[in-house]
Subunit: 280 residues, 2 copies
């Protein structure tokens, strides 16, 4: 209860206004709520510093444009708002997650967006757990659902996390805490909250975006800092991998220590070198 | 402006409270808003009567259970709330759409749902246009996206309408007002807001649910009232069809009068017999 209360007393940024979380109000007509018509981004805040803010906000705006959501925001205006939000909350030290959501805003009933709409912009900060405190990653390959690589949504961070949710619930049922999601062709696309890399014969491989992977900021940074080959991956690749790694902006690079029933020595010398890149 | 004002003054039902639309407030932590973690239903209200209410609400609760959203509501309790809502709004005569949304409710940041959550229940009523006043249906086959028949979400009415939205925006670009969506195998699954039937050699065909179709209430009623064969449909089937029909609960059975560049005589004698079934 204490934690929840703290969250409610946090300040959020909603449509140009700084307001207490418990007073913030999303319209029931907001198309983000009614139809998943929006995008979001989550970035890491370390001791008052936004990590890779410009890359995150540039991507967020690009993803909004895939849904043709028009906004006057720029990466710079979003960064400025985020920094103000940290100040308002006095978040000078510590580890936080900043989530920025942009939706098309309110609309009348029906699927077709209004010709003119005023987007909703919401920024919220939450405490983030250090990756060191997280349990080891035990993953399964989801049998419940697949990722749709035919859809542009598979490559943007939209508000539509239902498939990932179903896969994660399945993982929990199977005594795991993460699920890898196949695309419709049977290739690995991603985990429920990040990109995947595998180590094969000393080389890092990752699925191409066309396999239904999101262009994760951490994925991009790993690829910029070390040699990675983009290649479609099958479940067989995973079985034979010398290491399996998941990346996202909050937890960085995490080693998968068990896949289905098989233990994997992912926390090997290569992993140590990889995490030494300090990409987050 | 008048219409919008009227909407704001309408009463909505939100978590057991009747409240003015403009005063209704969805929490920014609601997982329906943050992750599309919810389901909805839209049913027709004609002169104060809820059309097929029990079927709609039973389906809604079934779909909620696919996402494992726990609620104490029953079809009867939802029907009772809906009738009260109509009374509160004095909607005795006229044609309305009643939308019921159930989400998992508020949750802390992250994909995994809280062990205990209080679902959000929202009912809103909007004016509905008579199908007679709607323009003729000009449809295209979406090239932008596909429907993911591998996902359980393709068979429930979740808050995730992004693919349908992309397809509808594409239709607008192509001077049409509706799009048909292929599944990943290249079979027709549905339109952006309804099920599809085609007339071939005097017989009605419709895609099986396994092709990524939602189990529409009107679809079910059509199948109950006339002979329909479930069969996977290709774009070639459409080209050769004697008629193409779209169904949903608000508009009933609509004839597609143009597909891509080709005019179709869907409003034929068969259509007249079909609409005579009065399934909505």
């Amino acid at each position: 209860m204490e934690r929840k209360k703290a969250q409610e007393d946090m300040i959020v940024y909603l449509n140009n206004v700084f307001i207490k979380d418990k007073a913030a109000c999303i319209s029931p007509a907001d198309r983000g709520f009614t139809l998943g018509d929006g995008v979001f981004d989550t970035l890491l805040v370390l001791d008052g510093q936004l990590r890779h803010a410009k890359a995150h906000f540039a991507r967020l705006l690009k993803h909004a444009s895939v849904l043709r959501i028009k906004t006057n925001e720029t990466p710079e205006s979003l960064e400025s708002a985020a920094l103000h939000l940290l100040k308002k909350n006095k978040f000078v030290m510590g580890r936080y997650a900043l989530r920025t959501t942009i939706t098309r805003g309110a609309g009348v009933r029906g699927l077709l967006p209004p010709d003119e709409s005023v987007p909703t912009l919401l920024m919220r900060v939450s405490s983030a757990v250090s990756p060191d405190s997280l349990p080891p990653v035990y993953a399964v390959i989801s049998q419940t659902t697949r990722r749709n690589e035919f859809s542009p949504l598979s490559r943007i961070k939209s508000l539509q996390y239902g498939d990932n949710l179903l896969a994660l619930l399945e993982a929990k049922d199977r005594d795991a805490n993460e699920a890898l999601i196949l695309n419709t062709a049977g290739h690995i696309s991603c985990s429920t909250t990040g990109n995947i890399f595998i180590l094969e014969k000393g080389r890092l491989l990752t699925p191409p975006l066309s396999d239904g992977a999101l262009n994760g900021i951490t994925r991009t940074l790993v690829m910029r800092n070390t040699t990675v080959k983009e290649q479609s991956l099958t479940p067989e690749h995973l079985t034979e991998a010398e290491g399996i790694y998941l990346t996202n902006s909050l937890s960085g690079i995490r080693a998968v220590e068990k896949l289905e029933e098989k233990t994997i020595d992912s926390k090997n010398a290569f992993y140590n070198a990889l995490t030494g890149l300090e990409v987050i």
